[in-house]
């Protein structure tokens, strides 16, 4: 057996089957997922300030409100528009002013941002923001 398989294959298997590789098929060439904490999967409820269906990745800007009335602005990134277009996403998919819920892997540095995983739209439909998610660690909608 070549050395490669002796040394690297166990790592490959671990990555593929345990799901520890934080790779989006649509995004890894562009940015690292090391800045997100994939063990956390919180959600934020808020009002859409802006939806950017842009290349290289879509962005959602959401304003949420704490129990004490503090307003928070969240910047959340999703997959690329080409992939999400196959799942029905378009420029009009999320509307400004819409109340939505987003599950995400938060930034490890504590800032209010992260990698979007699922979005629950105001009409009740919940959709993935990363396509089929086959390379991602588990992060499922909870409500």
């Amino acid at each position: 057996m070549p050395n490669f398989y002796k040394t690297a294959y166990p790592i490959l298997l671990a990555n593929v089957f345990v799901g520890s590789v934080l790779l989006s098929p649509s995004a890894d060439a562009h940015h690292s997922f090391g800045m997100f904490d994939d063990k956390q999967c919180p959600y934020v409820e808020g009002v859409v300030k802006k939806f950017e269906f842009v290349y290289p990745h879509i962005w959602l800007w959401i304003e949420s409100e704490d129990s004490d009335g503090t307003q928070n602005l969240w910047g959340l990134v999703g997959a690329d528009p080409a992939t999400l277009a196959q799942y029905g996403w378009s420029q009009e998919f999320v509307k400004k002013g819409e109340e939505i819920t987003v599950w995400f892997n938060p930034l490890s540095d504590g800032r209010k941002g992260g990698s979007m995983r699922h979005v629950k739209l105001s009409k009740g439909e919940t959709v993935s923001a990363q396509g089929d998610e086959k390379f991602f660690a588990k992060c499922l909608p909870t409500i």
């Binding site: 490669f4 890894d28 562009h30 277009a85 378009s90």
Partner: protein, 257 residues
């Protein structure tokens, strides 16, 4: 005279020649009609995107923990690919490629990215226009390759139609162009790429790509791809929205108006 003609027609070689001519004449209009239909399908409104299964294939070919089985890389490039494929993606070392710097991936890696594109067919030329700003020119006017040409990321492409299939050969690709969707393996002056775009329906185009490069591959490397038509077309600039390259994550709020 009549006997002489009869003797000539009894020659099997002549019969074969006549049959070939007959079949060519009979099938030519059909092939032309197939091409016309394929061209209309390519040009219909919307844009083409790679199906997600093929995006996964592309990532497993280059990296993403894939074993690269079936890719006939030479030992030198096999090691480069394998070293890259097994490094951790959740680190800055996991990012690589031209796109984080908003540089076109170049050929043939460009066609492995999930980037929307549209076909524009004009007399003697097919153009592919990509959402991230780059484009390809495919000359279909019957020209031959020049002997020398300044290499460019997407190379110099010549194509022709075979029924509903556009056959394209690309040469003169510059060395910053990427072979895979990622991985630090680049085209060389010897890289030649042959693509067969087959228009299957109004919404499906299949692509078979073969790369020949004795520096990189021990034998021609052929792989499939597939694109579907989605009903959206738009243009965006990579640099204008490049807020999340490498390990950067720019949370500067945009203009909300």
């Amino acid at each position: 005279m009549t006997q002489k003609l009869a003797r000539r027609f009894s020659d099997p070689r002549l019969r074969l020649l006549l049959l070939t001519i007959f079949l060519s004449v009979m099938t030519a209009p059909n092939a032309a009609a197939q091409s016309d239909k394929a061209k209309k399908r390519l040009m219909s409104e919307g844009s083409w995107v790679m199906i997600e299964d093929q995006t996964t294939r592309a990532y497993l070919a280059c990296c993403a923990g894939g074993d690269g089985k079936g890719i006939p890389l030479t030992p030198k490039y096999r090691k480069i690919r394998d070293d890259f494929a097994t490094r951790p993606f959740n680190s800055i070392e996991g990012t690589y490629g031209n796109l984080p710097n908003c540089i076109t991936p170049g050929m043939p890696g460009l066609m492995e990215h999930p980037i929307q594109f549209e076909f524009l067919l004009t007399p003697g030329r097919v153009s592919l226009m990509f959402q991230e700003g780059t484009f390809r020119r495919i000359w279909t006017d019957g020209r031959k390759f020049p002997e020398n040409l300044y290499p460019q990321p997407n190379g110099y492409s010549i194509g022709h139609w075979e029924g509903d299939t556009l056959v394209v050969e690309t040469r003169f690709i510059s060395k910053e162009a990427e072979i895979f969707i990622s991985a630090p393996i680049h085209s060389t002056p010897q890289t030649r790429v042959t693509e067969r775009f087959t228009v299957e329906s109004d919404t499906v185009v299949k692509l078979e790509t073969t790369i020949v490069d004795p520096e990189l591959f021990e034998e021609p490397y052929t792989y499939p791809n597939e694109f579907v038509k989605v009903p959206i077309s738009f243009e965006t600039g990579c640099a204008a929205n490049n807020k999340d390259d490498g390990n950067n994550f720019d949370l500067t709020p945009p203009d909300f108006d």
